[in-house]
């Protein structure tokens, strides 16, 4: 067990719990989460505050009778229809803000500088690099288990396949999650903005080794990435 985090993070300040974002679109996803967080936080205090106020104000007291209000007349029901319209408006606002972010991450894959095949199996990620010729299925392809090396600030296209069951390719720091389904080839993409090592857990229950099925994403600065490439393909 580890110590309480520095300064004691309040449980209600949810945005501080997200891991550090290191992708180009992670900020957009965080902005959507943050927007929903603040909208719902206001409603949380409004509704629970009203509830608490009513419970105190209208607790049973001798000699006071409850009002006979059925809420059937339009004038009465305005008290809940107006907030309801606000809810409806906020719903569409959240959808409107969310749609372009979804499209950016999942639908519009930008031109990629690098393609990597990731094949999931119980309980490892097989990472296949195309090598210097940039073409898969040639003799200079290179396979590594659970090690995904990419250059920083480059669009990386990930081609996801599974050999057995459903897995899920999850990069918490890049805000990317995509299920990997046997029988399908699914494409995902990301662009990392900070060099470093980031964990790559499997996020879908895939058998007894699901817990602990993880790889590492290594984001290299340009020179370091060149060096890594030279080391891997030195023989060829």
């Amino acid at each position: 067990m580890t110590a309480w985090p520095e300064g004691g993070v309040p449980m209600l300040n949810w945005m501080r719990w997200l891991p550090e974002n290191v992708s180009t679109y992670g900020g957009d996803i965080d902005a959507v989460i943050s927007l929903i967080y603040y909208v719902t936080l206001v409603w949380f205090f409004l509704t629970l505050g009203t509830l608490a106020a009513f419970l105190i104000l209208y607790r049973r007291r001798e000699g006071r009778r409850a009002a006979y209000v059925t809420g059937d007349r339009l004038k009465e029901s305005a008290w809940i229809l107006v907030p309801l319209l606000i809810v409806l408006g906020l719903d569409f606002w959240l959808d409107l803000r969310g749609a372009p972010v979804w499209a950016k991450v999942k639908s519009q894959v930008p031109p990629a500088a690098l393609s990597i095949q990731v094949t999931a199996k119980q309980f490892n990620w097989e990472i296949l690099y195309a090598g210097p010729d940039g073409v898969f299925g040639t003799s200079d392809d290179l396979q590594r288990e659970n090690e995904l090396h990419v250059p920083v600030n480059k669009v990386v296209r990930v081609v996801l396949k599974s050999k057995d069951v459903i897995h899920s390719f999850f990069l918490p720091n890049l805000r990317l999650k995509q299920d990997v389904v046997p029988g399908r080839t699914i494409e995902a993409w990301f662009e990392a903005t900070q060099p470093g090592q980031y964990e790559l857990p499997c996020a879908e229950l895939c058998g007894f080794g699901h817990s602990g099925m993880k790889g590492w994403l290594y984001v290299h600065p340009p020179e370091e990435y060149e060096k890594w490439v030279r080391e891997q393909w030195r023989s060829s």
Partner: protein, 572 residues
Amino acid sequence: MADTAFATVAEHSAHVHDVKPGFWHTYVFSTDHKTIGKQYLCIGLIWAVVGGLLAYVMRWQLAWPDTAVPGWGEVGPEVYNMMVTMHGTIMVFFVAMPILLGAYGNFLIPLMIGARDMAFPRLNMLSVWVFAFASLVLFLSFFVPGGAASAGWTGYPPLSAKVEYTGVNWGMNLWILALALEFASFLMGGVNYLTTAITLRVPGMTFFRLPLVVWQQLTAATLFLLSVGPLIAGAVMLLLDRTIGTHFYLPDLGGDPLLWQHLFWFFGHPEVYVILLPALGFVLEVLPVFSRKPIFSYRGIIYSTIAAGGLSFVVWAHHMFVSGMDPRLAMPFSITTILISVPFAFIVFAMIATLWRGSIRFDTPMLFALGFLAMFIVGGLTGIFNGSAPADIYISDTYFVVAHFHYTLFSSVVFGGFAGFYFWFSKMFGRLLNETLGKVHFWLTLVCFNLTFFPMHNIGLAGMGRRIANPLQYEFLVPHQWVNVLVTVGAILLLAAQIPLVLNIAWSLLAGRAAPANPWEANTLEWTAPSPPPHLNWETLPVVYRGPYEYSVPEVREEWLPQDQALAAPSR
């Protein structure tokens, strides 16, 4: 039609008054809807203990991984997966459904509409016995070689479709069988609920004078009837894949794993409302009684319930945003999902407005009802995070989802369920419960519930996966491990917080005061029958003159005005 059915039951009553049925026919092979309700309640409560113990073992493993769990021993990853699977299966299908629908639907519907029994009493008995058999099958699945099902309560193939992927053979087959039997049982129940409420209402009980809990039970039964078909078909295909080598879900010969997810969630989302709506119904009954006020916008609540039920059929793919389905489907499903907030916001606002200018009594049923309202607001709001497709890219399959569905489902079963339990216990068993023990039970449950489930939001936002067995295998989670410890301590306290309930039930049944017919001064028809109601419920059937929530009516001196009480000028 209604009259003939009614007449048959009435004639039947004349015979039964002469002959006293023996022990077996009174308590075991009974066709009495009240006994059947209690049977569902007992089986559900036994399963709740099993499901709770599984949760305890899982939580211990997550807080202090790979240490021996007191009273159990070490938990390996295979066993952990079985526990995750069985905990979910048990709590949804063998606790929530039998208690909220089976027990209270059976007990309340005839009593609230003025019927002597269900429309098909023998079908009703068959449904509870099929459910008991389903329970036996599920229980035995723990003890077959290879152990119980371990592919998650959602049973996604190919993991669930081939023995080699999990090592579970008969456990998984029995899981499918147990669910099929359970579905058959609740189909029989649902048909019975609908037929009873449509045909056996007492004179004067129009549809818009039905108590809201009856509306909620009927909507839940309808949702179940309409949604379970595709899943039964899906389950048959899964069983065939497992046993005779078909490839409906196995891609090597052209099957598609995503087909199961569509079938499962087409059922799965209405299913969560099948659980939620009855609990919401209990709370809607309790609030006006203890605020001494009519429910705010009775018809609006009915229309909202039906709207939410309808919408629940067009949102299922929000469980599948990152599943690999066409990404163009995500935003339409995201919009329908977030739209569901409108009917439910209406119901929540109506519940709060019911309290406005009321005269609120804080008896135990009311405390649990208010607890449900507060926790359901939290669960509803967190649903917006999951319903937003872009936010869900990060949040899906994390503990945030676990937190969300416990705030909605666990609070339905526990806060909604206990609101109903404390409210109708005296009617069911003829004895009063102890109020002090009830209040202690409420406050301990409320505090421990939040201690257990609130931090799950935080650890989920930190990225912890929902079905991992050991968070310490992930470096990014190690600094947050104290949250898992906190949650586990909360969960153990939450289980311990149920001790006052056990004491209360034991005390009441052994030494509790005999309950009067109407201890809460409530309006609906079940309170006009003796506590507990005899076989066939009433000597002479009541007649209904007005809606169910006429409290503090200005023309009447008392604060309540029962549905069966004639007035010179009916006020509504």
